[in-house]
């Protein structure tokens, strides 16, 4: 029999699929994937739940599948969240070290983190993650753990990710209706990065782009810490919609066409693709050139937005390990080449090589968020005692929030 907290379940309520992955923490902290459950998603648009009932049913079905394949009983899950409403920024907090011997203790570290997080976010937003980046002691740069050091002034840089509270609560509420407990939530980009990047990659600097069905999430690591994150509410769904509009065919045909014949490479010579007669749909012929052009424009645009964002934050020169593309759209033909021309950096299609398990699962880019959630869970179980977790922040009652504000004053 396995100890309870050695089994960790990651759940992603995505736009194209609801997917649960069961991981087991084996000796030495390695993770072994022992089960997967996946169903097509019906209640999600652009990464956010729009139909609670359908989403709840999908979650239920996916988890039943996962339970069967892993032969375990699932009581709680770690869930990923995303959506175009998520925002981020970097902030620096500072405190004076006031105790007599000028030694930096847990208290100072806690206070400086509080101070760094005390920033203005819109009223309806809640801080999802406040990730420590680096510390400064009396202005000295690049300190990772200041505990025990001497100094008069301690500063900390944090990366804050925040989003609309009610929208974040929707995912949690859906899972609770199944009924299941949500152990914690994490933003999709962070989860994907944990699955795809090794600590060496994080140190060298890398950007992970998770292009899923409804959103494109990205995260930038530099010197081992998270430097920047972002969400663009554009994904594979948009590609399909573009094809459907451009070639005047229904969505399901457009989707099949994208997967079977689609490519991001522009063709010099046109080819004709004949669509077979299906129930209620007549024979059609479409131009492959047009198909590829529509897809190329959309993906090129989306990746260019990320490139612009990297340039704006002057991060392009620090990405030694290059670009990692994951999520369902990473499977699109020609993705590697297109991304290479846009970023001018080495491009890898992301596989979740930080865990062990069946190759089919690990090498599928669409599982990286869910697999990453297991690694996230492993990390957050380790330092649970430190700070309120994202799930606590999001589900906090207003009363509790008020008390906290009072305590801060």
């Amino acid at each position: 029999m396995l100890a309870k907290d050695r089994i960790i379940v990651g759940l992603e309520v995505g736009t194209s699929k609801v997917c649960a992955v069961v991981g087991e923490v084996v000796d030495g902290g390695n993770i072994l994937i022992i089960g997967v459950g996946q169903v097509a998603s019906e209640g999600v648009r652009k990464g956010e739940i729009v139909n609670m009932e359908a989403a709840t049913q999908n979650i239920h079905d996916a988890l039943i599948q996962a339970e069967e394949s892993a032969d375990v009983e699932i009581r709680n899950v770690y869930a990923s969240v995303t959506g175009g409403h998520l925002r981020c920024f970097n902030n620096r907090g500072s405190v004076a070290v006031t105790n007599e011997d000028r030694e930096i203790t847990e208290d100072e570290v806690r206070n400086v983190m509080l101070n760094a997080k005390a920033v203005n976010i819109p009223m309806d937003h809640v801080v999802l993650h406040a990730i420590r980046q680096r510390f400064y002691v009396d202005g000295a740069d690049g300190i990772q753990t200041p505990l025990g050091m001497m100094g008069a002034k301690l500063e900390a840089d944090v990366h804050v990710i925040h989003g609309v509270k009610t929208r974040l609560q929707n995912t949690i509420r859906c899972i609770k209706q199944v009924p299941l407990d949500v152990a914690n939530i994490a933003v999709s980009s962070l989860a994907s990065a944990l699955a795809v990047l090794t600590p060496e990659h994080q140190q060298l600097g890398a950007v992970v782009i998770d292009m899923g069905g409804g959103t494109t999430d990205y995260i930038i690591y530099r010197d081992g810490t998270i430097q920047h994150t972002g969400v663009i509410a554009v994904g594979g769904d948009h590609i399909t919609n573009d094809i459907a509009t451009g070639l005047k065919i229904p969505m399901n045909r457009a989707d099949a066409l994208k997967i079977e014949h689609g490519s991001l490479e522009l063709l010099d010579v046109d080819e004709t693709i004949s669509l077979k007669r299906e129930v209620g749909l007549a024979d059609r012929e479409v131009s492959k050139q047009q198909l590829c052009r529509i897809m190329n424009l959309r993906v090129e645009e989306t990746l260019s937005f990320i490139k612009q964002d990297l340039d704006k934050h002057k991060l392009t020169d620090y990405l030694g390990a290059g670009v990692f593309i994951t999520g369902g759209c990473a499977r699109l033909r020609g993705m590697e080449r297109l991304a290479t021309t846009i970023f001018g950096l080495p491009v890898h299609i992301g596989h979740s090589h930080t865990v062990n398990g069946p190759t089919a699962t690990i090498e599928s880019p669409e599982y990286s968020t869910t697999i990453g959630l297991i690694r996230y869970a492993q990390g957050s179980q380790r330092d649970q005692h430190r700070e309120p977790t994202p799930i606590q922040r999001v589900t906090q009652t207003f009363h509790g929030y008020f008390l906290k504000i009072r305590a801060m004053m």
């Binding site: 652009k46 203005n120 819109p122 554009v234 573009d242 529509i294």
Partner: protein, 410 residues
């Protein structure tokens, strides 16, 4: 509505509508005071000649302002003290002096109301001032600053209640949430800097209108156009601007404008019903510059009725400033008095009063009819019912090839 000027008053020189800026309450008076100070310190200041009025309950706060007309309201109620955060008191103070407010707004084409919401006088009195000005036939635009989030829920609720009141009275309300000032001024700016930047923003907004009407125009916009675009809309507004120099100045200026924190991803511009674009350049400005500046913005604001003006300022050589003011109707669509807003004023203020630019008017009428074409709905396809994905003002749910104008060869 009463005509703005009697035809007899307009002799040979082209008449332009008078423009007054009313600062209401503490924050409003501060803004007006700062504009007055800037004008006094600079003979070439673009706002020279503008009429400023500071309105407050607090006599002491008023005494600190120079260069603006001052008006104390509610002296019988507050005895020269402030309203102390009491909205009711601010409201009554203004009502008591409603006649004086009307008198001061008389014969004015455009009234700008500048106020900070959340306090007593600004929140309570601004709607009354707006109403008074409206009754005198002026076009009333309000620039309001909302409190910081840290100022607490109570103050915010007051501000929002006041905002609703103001929207019901004024033609357009442009909100500058103080929280955005952080973004404009930077996280580490001092409080004084941040507020000063807020006031500068207001000044820039006023200036955009002022130069539209006052400067020698390459493409003229007159008061009738403005009224047409903004009148009686009771709308939410967006305000942003960008300045650039150099060879590619028009494209650069658009970029700066789109990146301005006030623009906030262009949520409003994408949905805007009325958009005012003002381009200010030096004598060296070419028509191509104007086109490059206006085209990307009007493309984003494809759903709205675009009014544009280009003006020339000698001091602005080799520089280009674009200012955009966009409004979205805050009331339900059906309640909007559309026919009144689009036709009646045009008929009323005809040629002898204000020089009308004919093509602009006819073009606008044609555009107004186009508004209801279901074009957007078709191209958004699957995402028709979901909230648009706006990125730099573009709706990303619309296929890229349509937005880029790439034709798919058949």
């Amino acid at each position: 509505m009463t005509p703005i000027r009697k035809p007899t008053e307009s002799n040979d020189a082209p008449v332009r509508a008078r423009l007054k800026v009313f600062g209401v309450g503490g924050a409003g008076c501060n803004a007006v005071g700062q504009i007055a100070g800037a004008i006094a310190g600079d003979a070439q200041h673009p706002l020279t000649g503008i009429e400023l009025v500071a309105i407050n309950t607090d006599l002491q706060a008023l005494s600190g302002i120079t260069g603006a007309e001052k008006m104390q309201i509610g002296s019988a109620i507050t005895h020269g003290l402030g309203a102390g955060g009491d909205v009711e008191l601010g409201l009554r103070a203004a009502q008591q002096d409603a006649e004086r407010l009307e008198a001061i707004a008389q014969n004015t084409g455009i009234v700008f109301i500048v106020a900070g919401l959340g306090g007593g006088t600004g929140t309570g009195a601004a709607p009354v001032v707006a109403r008074a000005a409206k009754e005198q036939g002026a076009l009333v635009l309000a620039f309001v600053m909302l409190p910081f989030a840290f100022e607490g829920v109570g103050r915010r609720q007051k501000a929002i209640a006041g905002l609703d009141q103001l929207k019901a009275q004024a033609d357009a309300v442009i909100c500058i949430p103080n929280d955005k000032l952080f973004k404009v001024a930077g996280e580490r700016a001092t409080a004084l800097d941040a507020f000063q930047r807020g006031n500068e923003l207001v000044a820039t907004g006023v200036q955009a209108f002022w130069q539209l009407l006052a400067r020698k125009g390459l493409i003229n916009v007159d008061f009738a156009d403005l009224r047409n675009a903004l009148g009686s809309k009771h709308s939410d507004g967006l305000f942003s601007f960008g300045t650039a120099t150099g060879k590619e100045k028009s494209r650069e200026a658009v970029k700066v404008l789109l990146e301005n924190p006030l623009f906030d991803g262009g949520d409003v511009l994408g949905k805007a019903e009325a958009v005012l674009i003002s381009v200010l350049g030096g004598p060296d400005m070419t028509l191509a510059d104007v086109q490059h500046a206006v085209e990307p913005i009007s493309r984003i604001a494809s759903r709205g009725q675009v009014t544009m003006g280009a003006a020339i300022d000698e001091a602005h050589a080799n520089r280009l400033t674009i200012t955009v003011i966009a409004t979205v109707n805050a009331l339900p669509r059906r309640a909007a008095p559309a026919p009144v807003a689009t036709r009646q004023p045009v008929q009323e203020v005809t040629t002898p009063i204000l020089p009308l630019v004919k093509p602009a008017v006819s073009k606008k009428e044609a555009q107004a009819k186009q508004e209801n074409l279901p074009l957007e709905g078709v191209s958004r396809g699957r995402f028709e019912k979901s909230e648009p994905t706006l990125y730099n003002g573009e709706d990303l749910d619309v296929p890229t090839y349509i937005r880029r104008g790439v034709s798919l060869k058949r």
